[in-house]
């Protein structure tokens, strides 16, 4: 009998301690999801875009190399977006093209076209954590933001770059992600991402992405014209510059299949 009482007492204490914590956790999760859902909603309906971009890679000693590319994107309403990136420079990879079909529930599908052999090569989805073109961006950093890919937790509010921001923790659901978690700063005025901190699988800070020079398109859609990714572990950094972006280019699914990959140059 005394034994049962002990258990009962123990359970009660545990409940007193845990339930509020659990409830707080639930509130934080709900709030994180609300903020992220709003973030996604504010960036819905753009249809398709065509962008010209420059990537500047800097090593630890500050030496630079450049990448020129064009990216076509297509918004897919019920699933992840599609993107086709065509490389113009460096010249040894000119005409190489990279196609991503972001998926919400299953792993993304990716293909690479190599003009030297006229060959489309499928990329294993595990490669997502690998560097994109030798830069500090991983493939997964460039795929479209989809709610289903993460669990969320609202942490706090704070001011960043003069903007009042929510700080939301995002935990990737994909076991092949290179990150244990990300901290995302989202401004309260327009729900734009201002900064992301990426934590590696050992939970130490890996890199920080900051967004700059936001401009408004179609009266609705904000696009950063400069993104800076700084690696905290190896001191390398990459700037992604958006030189030009055009909306409503009339792109369709046919511009984002394996045939399109071979047509692109």
């Amino acid at each position: 009998m005394r034994h049962y009482l002990q258990i009962l007492l123990f359970s009660f204490c545990l409940a007193v301690l845990v339930i509020p914590a659990w409830a707080d956790e639930q509130v934080a999760a709900d709030e994180g999801l609300r903020i992220s859902t709003e973030r996604k909603a504010r960036d819905t309906g753009w249809g398709d875009t065509e962008a010209q971009m420059t990537m500047v890679l800097r090593d630890a000693r500050g030496r630079e190399s450049r990448r020129e590319m064009r990216t076509l994107t297509l918004e897919v309403v019920d699933d992840g977006d599609k993107a086709l990136t065509i490389f113009d420079e460096p010249r040894d990879v000119r005409g190489s093209a990279f196609l991503t079909h972001t998926k919400t529930l299953v792993p993304d599908e990716q293909w690479l076209f190599l003009p030297a052999v006229n060959r489309v090569r499928r990329i294993v989805s595990r490669n997502k954590s690998g560097p994109f073109m030798g830069s500090e961006f991983a493939y997964e950093d460039l795929s479209s933001f989809e709610l289903e890919k993460f669990s969320f937790r609202y942490l706090r509010s704070e001011t960043l770059n003069g903007e009042d921001c929510y700080v939301v923790e995002q935990i990737p659901q994909d076991e092949f992600s290179g990150y244990s978690r990300m901290l995302v700063w989202i401004d309260k005025s327009h729900y734009r991402v201002q900064q992301i901190e990426y934590y590696d699988r050992r939970d130490s800070l890996l890199k920080t992405l900051s967004m700059h020079d936001y401009q408004l398109y179609q009266d609705k859609f904000w696009r950063p014209h400069r993104m800076e990714m700084v690696n905290a572990q190896n001191q390398k950094s990459t700037s992604m510059l958006l030189n030009e972006i055009l909306f409503e280019r009339g792109l369709t699914n046919a511009d984002f299949d394996q045939n399109a990959l071979q047509r692109a140059r």
Binding site: D88, N118, N259
Partner: protein, 538 residues
């Protein structure tokens, strides 16, 4: 990459390496006589009227009494008995409607003995009519160098009054310097240094709505030693129209089909440029009309291929070749239309989430010739081929499973071949961003050891290391081991890195090892090489 170097060449079948070269011809003649004499079932000589669809090869194949006599022997015997049946005395030009006197078995056999009785001095003399000579597929050894395919971004600034079209044409150029060094002199005392230079241009234009594209890409190669390696080619020159769910391409183009790493089984549209790379990754431009329908049930592509590109073979001074010279001036075709035979192909491909599947059919002139021994040299013979192909890739996490299979049919034989295996990728090894891929593939060919197959029962293992650095450095190492013959193997290395914005440096190397004179690899055993390629883009 793949390996065409594994093919056996029955031309040289059954020469014991221990025999001194001058002896080989006689020894072979005796052997052949013995082999041929055993199954003695004489077939009576009769008559036959040539029908419009007949070819000499087909007739010879039909009346061949048994496999101890080669189709070539039968063809020669027919020719000898019926010189009047051939236009201008050309073996290629069998006249229709004539009545042929068919040779008997003895006569066919005599062809072989007569031929092989000739003094065979150098290892070259391809006299020997070994049993199953018709299976003498020898896809040629290959030499040389780098990666064509070009690039660089220079927009031509044409003077103002020029039409808008020219202003929108982009021109790219690539220059390759390719010194190649062989640690040993060749079997025919060829030199150790063989350097070459290649130049490729590309002009590219696309209409504003992206529906029309024009591509023009000439290619030029010059070799220091081997004039057979000189090449002036149009690797691409086509017009492409894109109509939303269909595409039409007209002109010269290159097409790739396939999935596996170690071999190219299904990929058949283009002739390979084995003189550029021994692995067959380099191709010659193929004139074609290609229609693609892009539908929910998959992509269907239809090809009409009106003109055939012959395979090119190394010359006297070249390395990576058979001991005999290949005489491309007397190339033989099964079809009387020769290189103008209209080949065609169909392909259906579809992607089912993690599975990519392709089915293809080709009918027309085989891309790989049979090398027929005539006099002191080899004559390429291109039979008509029907080929059914399957290629598939299946992604499972870090695993990429790949399979290619073909069923081939020519007048002489039916055969099946399969390559299947996987690539397993380890991402971010060694606390770096390095990716390491492990490749393992099994190669099978139903033609077996006796015939001239490529890799009939072989294992390929390879490692692909991507450093994921700003220079885009990559290393690929692969080796092929014959599972039936312990002393038959080859290995290769491909590495490359970027130097600055306009240069890329490549290193390619091959090792060949074989103790079996009936396979091609044996004749390449002194042709191990290493090549540097400096690619300059402008």
């Amino acid at each position: 990459m793949p390996t065409l170097t594994k093919m056996r060449c029955n031309v040289l079948a059954s020469w014991p390496a221990s025999l001194p070269a001058p002896m080989k011809g006689q020894w072979l003649a005796a052997l052949c006589f013995l082999v041929c004499a055993i199954p003695a079932a004489a077939s009576p000589g009769g008559q036959l009227q040539v029908q419009p669809n007949d070819t000499l090869w087909r007739i010879a194949n039909d009346i061949r009494p048994d496999h101890s006599i080669s189709v070539m022997q039968v063809m020669l015997a027919i020719y000898e008995l019926n010189p009047q049946a051939f236009g201008q005395g050309d073996l290629n030009r069998l006249l229709h409607g004539v009545t042929l006197q068919l040779p008997d078995r003895e006569h066919m056999l005599r062809q072989s003995s007569q031929l092989s009785a000739e003094p065979a001095e150098a290892p070259g003399v391809a006299t020997e009519p070994a049993p199953q000579m018709e299976a003498t597929l020898a896809a040629v050894p290959p030499p040389l160098s780098s990666n064509p395919v070009a690039t660089a971004v220079v927009v031509t600034e044409v003077s103002d009054p020029a039409p808008v079209f020219w202003q929108n044409v982009e021109w790219f150029s690539q220059l390759n310097l390719m010194p190649r060094w062989y640690p040993q002199t060749g079997l025919q005392q060829q030199a150790q240094w063989h350097s070459s230079i290649s130049l490729e241009f590309e002009g590219y234009w696309q209409s504003d709505d992206r529906s029309h594209t024009l591509v023009f890409s000439p290619y030029l190669r010059w070799d220091q030693r081997d004039s057979a390696r000189h090449l002036l080619d149009i690797s691409e020159a086509y017009w492409l129209y894109f109509g939303g769910d269909w595409e039409l391409r007209a002109g010269i183009n290159k097409v790739f089909w396939g999935a596996v790493e170690s071999q190219r089984l299904v990929d058949i549209i283009n002739q390979r440029d084995l003189l550029d790379r021994p692995d067959g990754e380099s191709k010659l431009g193929q004139p074609m009309l290609q229609l693609s329908l892009i539908r929910d049930y998959g992509t269907v592509q239809a090809y009409l291929l009106p003109y055939f590109r012959e395979r090119k073979f190394a010359g006297e001074e070249g390395r990576l070749r058979l001991p005999q010279r290949v005489d491309s001036s007397n190339t033989l075709y099964e079809s009387r239309h020769k290189r103008n035979h209209l080949d065609w192909a169909l392909r259906w491909s579809q992607q089912f989430s993690s599975l990519d599947l392709g089915l293809s059919y080709f009918q027309g002139t085989a891309r790989e010739p049979v090398l027929l021994p005539t006099e002191q040299q080899l004559t390429p013979y291109y039979p008509q081929l029907k080929q059914l192909g399957l290629d598939a890739q299946w992604i499972l996490g870090s695993w990429l499973w790949k399979t290619e299979a073909v069923y081939r049919h020519t007048a002489a034989e039916h055969s099946k071949a399969l390559v299947t295996g996987f690539e397993y990728t380890q991402v971010g090894i060694n606390d770096h961003f390095w990716d390491l891929g492990w490749l393992l593939e099994y190669q099978y060919d139903s033609r077996g050891l006796g015939a001239a197959t490529v890799a009939q029962n072989d294992l390929f293992a390879g490692w692909r290391l991507a450093l994921n650095d700003a220079a885009g450095s990559e290393i690929l190492f692969g080796m092929m081991q014959d599972l039936d013959r312990s002393h038959s193997r080859s290995a290769y290395l491909e590495a490359s890195t970027r130097l600055g914005e306009r240069l890329r440096l490549r290193v390619d190397g091959w090792l060949f090892h074989s103790r079996y004179p009936d396979e091609l690899l044996y004749w390449l055993r002194r042709d191990d090489y290493i090549q540097l390629t400096l690619e300059y883009y402008f």
